[in-house]
Amino acid sequence: MIDLRASDLPLLVLYALAFALLHWTASPWSGAGFFSLWYPPAGLRFAVLWSRGARFAPWLVLAELAADFSAGVIDIGAPGLLQAVIGAMRPGLTYGLALAGTRGIARGKDDTFSLPPMMMGLAAVAAPALNALLVAPIDALLPADAGRYRIGVDIAISLTGLAVGDLLGILVLAPPLLWIAALTGGPRQALPRPPSRRAVLEDALVLSGCLLLTIALWRAGLGAQPAPGLLAGAWIGLRHGRIAAWLAIVAQVLAFLPYSSGRLDDATRLELHLGIAAVVLVTWLAGSFSDAQKTARIMLERRNRLLFQAERLKTLRAMSVAVIHEISQPLSTLAIEAGHLARATEHLDADIAESAALVDRKARDLSDLVRRLRRFGGRDVDEPSLLPVSMLLQTACQIVAAELRASGGRIDCLGIAPDLAVQAQEIELTQALVNLLRNAVAASPGETIALRAGAVADEVRIEVTNPLVTARKTDAQPLGAGMGIGLVIARTIVEAHGGTLVRQDDVDTARFVLSLPLVAGPLP
């Protein structure tokens, strides 16, 4: 459970009001054993939990209870109050669990299913399913009064109705709410490009064709068959992604909901909504999969570009090594002869002696430069060695100094104990630190970035902290958002060194903590 901030209170009040209103609008689709086959409050709940994080669930549950009591949905004086309260709390808590579980499963995986579009699709299915599945176990734990789900109606029907209502509510309502939140929440989200006329025409043709087919089959006495809708939904979702999928879902739901709110018996209504749920589900998953594929393709292209850059750097390195070699050969001769000339002319005319001494000094400087260059660029293998942490931090700061100057910021790096050392590959670990510093500079331009290091138990902890300037706290954003490739590389390097890289934000600062095994003993 996260701490509640003052700024969250209006959101919770608004949520409670919207929840009560949407709850009321769902009543025409109710039936025996289930509240409604079309339950938009579930979409509202899902959207808020997805954007604020699963740990926000307890606050939502409280808001929902408040709404239920105020609207008279739960009567304080009625018998079975405990069942009613638990029943009202269950959906919010199970949704939180489902969202946390989906994100937990996807964490650390690297495939299409772990990408944000697909994760949200899976969570949208998992949340109502878990909610329905946990009804019976939770009821079993309660005192055996006449619970809502225990009366004569077949429990399978009532749970199916519950899941179907929630699912429809989520898939119709949550996506637009989340899109609105993303567009208003920060400057980073770009508006989606308007679709091409051809795509719109194609989708409209497919959808209307399939709707006509559904109606034809119905007229022929075969009932409301979901197959044409499934076909249309899968086609549109796979072809054009989630936005097109959602529009198709809305179109299908608008076509059937007015009809199903009319005078239908429970069994017919449930059958119809099961069909709609199947269509909506397939359409949304198809759209999510298509978007996840698109995201994966973009990531792959970015990696390819990075690989190309790496190849170029490799070529450049080889060229610079060759240049160092070509220079060092004649420079050896020059340095020897310059030294000789300087010594031989010491006693000659002051002007000549000075010239010879100058040539000698410059040849020496150049020799030093070549040796230094060779030490940094000419190394083929970056072998692990004992490195003082203060030196690593200093080198990393020097590398980002130019970018820092350009952004007008500074790095505060003081008080690093000189005896801290780690066993590491110098070039790689410096790269990891540089990536973290670069991210911090990019996130907080013109600000002071704090770089700290210290020993904690048997670890060296290096902390890069930058103030959060414009972005709000982002823990509830979909995984992967804002994670640049630089951070991925830094994490890979640190983990290869037996360490960890974690993010530990405060309210107004972003902090990355890099921990590495501390090496005891004297420094080289």
């Binding site: 050969q329 004649p330 420079l331 050896s332 001769t333 040796r371 060779r374």
Partner: protein, 206 residues
């Protein structure tokens, strides 16, 4: 390249340093640097030319580049050692690597492994050390060359501090024979007593 045939005959007494580098200017420069430090040095650009004049010319130290044309510095070192085990080697390179540095000293018995541009004092020190080592090796080789096989056995045990009696027991000969061998050893080495023999076995001048 310095043509060995065209250059003046090397003095058979003074220890000679050879500088081998495919860059003729650098070779000549290093040779002149050594000459200024009172070391008689000649420059070569082709390893085969250097190997070819070896029978007539015993070098005390060879400074060799590692990356050369057909024959690299290490192959050259093997060929040189096969012809003359008592010559010392100093390596220099413009492409230093840790692996090469270790090989140069451990496998090829190099005195030092120098990075170009060359550190002059370090080069002079390495060559001086190499010349001293080579001189000792040559003295030991010259001395033991005159021994018979049995005299060599007796000499090896003597300088390790064994008594005549112990040597006789070990070699299964009489103490009298050991004394005869010992007299021959002293005569051949023109030494005076065990202390000088031990000094000789270490290559020290007596």
């Amino acid at each position: 390249m310095t043509d060995p045939a065209a250059s003046p005959a090397a003095s058979p007494v003074a220890p000679l340093v050879a500088v081998l580098d495919d860059d003729a200017d650098l070779g000549a420069s290093v040779a002149r640097l050594l000459a200024r430090n009172r070391m008689d040095a000649r420059a070569f650009t082709d390893p085969r030319a250097l190997l070819a004049i070896l029978p007539d010319c015993a070098f005390g130290c060879v400074i060799s580049d590692i990356q050369m044309g057909e024959m690299d510095g290490f192959a050259f070192a093997d060929a040189l050692r096969a012809r003359d085990p008592a010559v010392s080697l100093v390596f220099m390179t413009a492409w230093p690597t840790t692996a090469h540095a270790v090989d140069a000293v451990r496998r090829h018995g190099g005195i030092d492994y120098l990075e170009k541009p060359i550190d002059e004092p370090r080069l002079i020190a390495a060559v001086a050390e190499g010349l001293g080592w080579s001189a000792r090796e040559r003295r030991i080789a010259a001395m033991t060359a005159a021994f018979t096989r049995r005299e060599r056995d007796v000499f090896d045990l003597l300088v390790r501090g064994h008594s005549n009696k112990e040597i006789a027991e070990r070699l299964a000969i009489s103490a009298r024979t050991v004394e005869d061998h010992r007299a021959a050893i002293v005569t051949k080495t023109r030494t005076n007593g065990l202390a000088q023999l031990i000094a000789l076995s270490r290559g020290e001048a007596v």
